[in-house]
Amino acid sequence: MSTINLSVNGKQYSLESIPGETLSTMLRERLRLTGTKIGCEEAECGACTVLVDGQPMMSCVYPAERADGKTIVTIEGLAQRVHEEMKLHPLQDAFVEHGAVQCGFCIPGQILTAYALLKRNPNPDSADIRFALKDTLCRCAGYPSIENAILAAAQALRTGEPVQKPTHIPDSIHEHKTVGHSHLRPEAVEKVTGEALYTDDLKFDGMLYAKAKRAMIPHGFLKKLDISKAKALPGVAAVLTAEDIPAEKNHGLVIFDWPVMVGIGERVRYVGDALAIVAAETQEIAEQAVGLIEAEFDLQPVITNPVQARQEGVPQIHEKGNLLKHIKVRKGDMDAGFASADVILEHTFHTPTTDHAFIEPECSIGVPLPDGRMEIYVGSQIPYQDRTQVARVMGWPEERVRVVGQLMGGGFGGKEDIMGQIHVAMLANVTQRPVKLLFDRHESLLVHPKRHATQIRVKLGAKKDGRIVAMETELYGDTGAYASLGEKVMTRATTHSAGPYDIEHVRADCYAMYTNNPPAGAFRGFGVTQSAFAVESMMDMLADTVGVDRVELRRMNALHVGSVTNTGQVLNESVGLTECIDRVDAEMRKHTPRPFAPRVDSANPNLVRAWGFASAYKNTGLGGGAPDISGADVELYEDGTFQVRSSAAELGQGLVTVMRLTVAEEMAVAPEQVRVLVMDTDLAPNGGPTTASRQTFVTGNASRYAAKTLRDQITATMAEKFDVRPEQIRYEDGIVHVNGHSMTYAEIYKEMTAIGQQPKVRYEYEAPKTMPLGEGGDMHFAFSFGVQAAEVEVNKLTGEVRVLKVISANDVGMAVNPLGLQGQIEGGVMMGLGNCLTEEFIVDNGNVVTDHLARYRVPGIMLTPEITSIIVEHPISSGPYGAKGVGEICSIPTTPAITNAIYNAVGVRIFKTPVDQEMIARELWEREETK
């Protein structure tokens, strides 16, 4: 063993070397500098970037021993580096100011990489920045904001002036004091300094490390399981199998069909099924122990896709069969519809499984308490559901479990299901020690639910002038081994499969099928991403068939106020689709008067450009008759500050800011006076799941009404005390004016408590009732609308596709925080672009091929087009200040906008995503050859 002498953030260390240790592990585990993040451990994501002798390096593949004699700077060392005192570096400032920080997990890597760039090149242009940040991935993907932040920081560093704030983000058109204006995230500063703690950054005394033994076969029965060797390994504290499950054997979000562990004689349904779990003194011992567990299977034929799953005579994966749900939409009379059509088109589309690839892999920690309760620390999108699910399996009352939600390094729908929560609870309970279960990227890719792969057939009938009269769709959705949210997702795919259009006769049938692939569940877009690709491609084909302009065709058929959706819902308000279409169209034609005509590059005739256009809509909220409820507490404190609490999840999307602004607005205080607490089942009421773009709406409303109620209480108390009419009490700039008296909230607190009133309100908000599918009426309480145009460049020789520009208009009702909205929209476009061009989760006969990040490519900054965002605000009266969801709609039209643009450029129609450049090239050369 040798000694490693190194300097970290200006401090000298002398550490004994540990065989096999990487620099990242040394920094995180030994020096507790947890600002250095781990996203992949394969040199792919850049989250672990630190500076070694001034150069950015991936510390996850850097042997610690090599750091001997080197000078290391981590994110924690940046703030004090430029000034004597702890002051943010201009880069940190700029990242905060420009809204470049979303979930924050990638941010340390981004900032350090940018820091090295600015040292070398104090005046970088956009190309320099992109080149430098090429492999520093941000899945929240606010790449344009990151770029702007770096430009602003560079300027500040050159001039010595403070960082310039962004100037290009307009306020909401709906005028309010606080909401509708750009505000910074309350947690942004800790995210740029590295102080922000995510689950894996926590360490408890005596903590054990866990690892699950995965089946690694797609289908079969577990015949034998030998854990004796693992148990005997020194350092192993517990090895548990299905036999050790205390109560309920299964978990699940809607249907409890997912075994906590598969027992002897039971069925393995996908490679990620857990067979045993181990807790050990170190991660290495836990891994070694898992390697010693021996399993034998009786292998079964593998169901590889949903179409096969529905065939007669194939093995049935679940007791009730392979069909999770047949989902039907019926409107009008199809025969009459098609009979009245002048043209009928029919095509079939395929979309692949995709992975959320949040940069932070899953992590759970179970901590047993002396009183017998159990705390679960986890980044989860549904903390209260986690509590229920853990309690069911443990056989405990729910209150015995406390879920303490942690900051999340991205979720996007992928952190709704149980991953390690139950396993750590079981292990912590048996060992009576804290237990951490951290997935590596490999396990994350194998195990958690994905986006559904689909096959979608669309048959469309239209009049000569382009009016659509009938639309019939048939969808197959691959929900994989377990239901997760499969039924809900595919329902959304189905109800939205006719596009945001007003059509008299609609019929849709969807078969959500179980297969032996990894489960599929929620993923930003929730099924609509898939069906929008199909229907929007059809719209362009229809435009060509009837000879109508692509935009005009959409305008003519667009849903509008008064339309009836295909599920029979009358849209009474807040339908901004036409405005979205008009504004994107106008913006696009400003760049290119004939946007859909191919334009050949004058320097290189192989390069052809064109625009593509697509529209979409997406429900806000759970809908379909499910009660959509969120609770929030608002409390006034002695010092005159407020706290708002709800166990809704902040995954980087910006809910915390929305809650803060809402309460600040209602109480007429500065946002800084409002603290937010989320995701703790002991301390905050249930905010419901963070899914279906619902949180701004429901928890926004809950916070708002809680604050309003508190304000009413204050008003009543003050009116009585000063004997004035309630209308004479005004709230302004943090002061309560009562008939000549001006009181601060600290004084109000005193007044209220003096008469025994607790200035604290809990409000349970229930969104407007919805109806189940098939019963007509309002299936959803709000819809968001989005339109995008994409300009692409296609290389006719190689088939390569580059997206140059995207214009994105989104009707969000009201922009509560325009700065946060900007990040959502940029990220939405990038996620859509990845969905279209780079991402495909490949499963070969049940075995995962894309089991490393290196094989599953998510878009980096180099692929970022110029993104123009247009905010359309048709308010919905039930929403907070008129707001409805935005998280998903901004991602949905991107794929068809790009594929339509490809067709417009080179005449190759994409029926299957992701776009295969080879297929484009082949079609072009074959066309050339037959000429």
Binding site: Q55, P63, T136, T850, H852, L863
Partner: protein, 290 residues
């Protein structure tokens, strides 16, 4: 379970070779580790007991002119190769390839030695060095020897160097004389691993409108880094025009063994696009050599 048991940081080539020989278990050199660490971690590699770090050896981190050759140490980080003006002057194809390998953080540790020793037929640094007709200096227990570049490879992922005993010390490149130039370009696909589906490097010397000499490397044009020797032989002494290019391309297509890599590119696709890439690279190099 540890990725390695022992870590050595020798400061000379002799010491490194000695460390390899005397290690208590299987030993391997590690340069950037951007291939090796991943292979070890993902279990794609037999376990290694001792890692011999090559980055503390001054000779292997040197980049300098030596006589009429440019010497690039095998452990020089790729990023440094990309930025070095000497490389820019004498081996522009290498500058271009080095600039395209991975991202900046990886480039700050990845090396040409590792790129070459990993022996993939389409590694970017490797293909540039192939066209530049590099010579490798290899050190082992028996001393040092110079090896012509293409003799370093046995097959995909199979190096002619016995990495448990030998080390690539560095590469020698001929310095550029007037009317000599080179160029490197590649074609990627946005899905899957970050290796090119096709890359191409050309070095050439012009004599007015005639091709005096030329080297063409294409990856993956075979199991090892491919030199289009037939096309080169045809072009030598020819004037450079559409007709000669077309014939050269035919030669290349006859000689190369393009294969289908699952989910990346079919042989057919590679055959169809190689002409465009070669033309592009040749044209650029031709102009540069004016």
């Amino acid at each position: 379970m540890n990725l390695w048991q022992e870590y050595k940081s020798p400061t000379s080539v002799a010491e490194a070779v000695q460390d390899l020989a005397s290690a208590a278990g299987p030993a391997l050199p590690i340069a950037g580790g951007t291939d090796l660490m991943l292979d070890l971690r993902q279990g794609n590699h037999p376990p290694v007991h001792t890692l011999i770090d090559l980055t503390f050896i001054p000779e292997m981190s040197a980049l300098e002119l030596r006589g009429d050759e440019l010497y690039v140490g095998a452990a020089v980080p790729v990023n440094q190769v990309a930025l070095d003006p000497l490389v820019g002057t004498h081996a522009q194809a290498l500058t271009e390839a080095a600039n395209l390998i991975a991202g900046p953080q990886v480039r700050n540790t990845a090396t040409l030695g590792g790129n070459v020793a990993h022996a993939l037929p389409a590694a970017d640094g490797t293909i540039a060095l192939t066209a530049l007709d590099a010579v490798a200096e290899v050190a082992g227990a028996a001393g040092r020897r110079r090896m012509p570049f293409t003799s370093l490879f046995l097959g995909p992922g199979k190096s002619a160097i016995d990495k448990t005993k030998e080390i690539i010390v560095g590469f020698y490149l001929p310095i550029a004389r007037p009317h000599q130039a080179s160029c490197f370009k590649r074609i990627m696909r946005p899905q899957g691993v970050a290796l090119p589906i096709l890359n191409c490097a050309v070095w050439l010397e012009r004599d007015g409108d005639l091709v005096r000499d030329i080297h063409i490397a294409v990856g993956p044009g075979g199991a090892t880094p491919f030199r289009a020797t037939e096309a080169e032989a045809f072009l030598r002494g020819q004037s450079f025009n559409d007709e000669t290019f077309a014939h050269a391309l035919d030669c290349l297509l006859d000689q190369a063994k393009f294969r289908t890599s699952a989910r990346r590119a079919s042989a057919d696709y590679r055959r169809h696009i190689v002409g465009g890439l070669l033309k592009d690279v040749l044209d650029t190099a031709w102009k540069r050599a004016e």
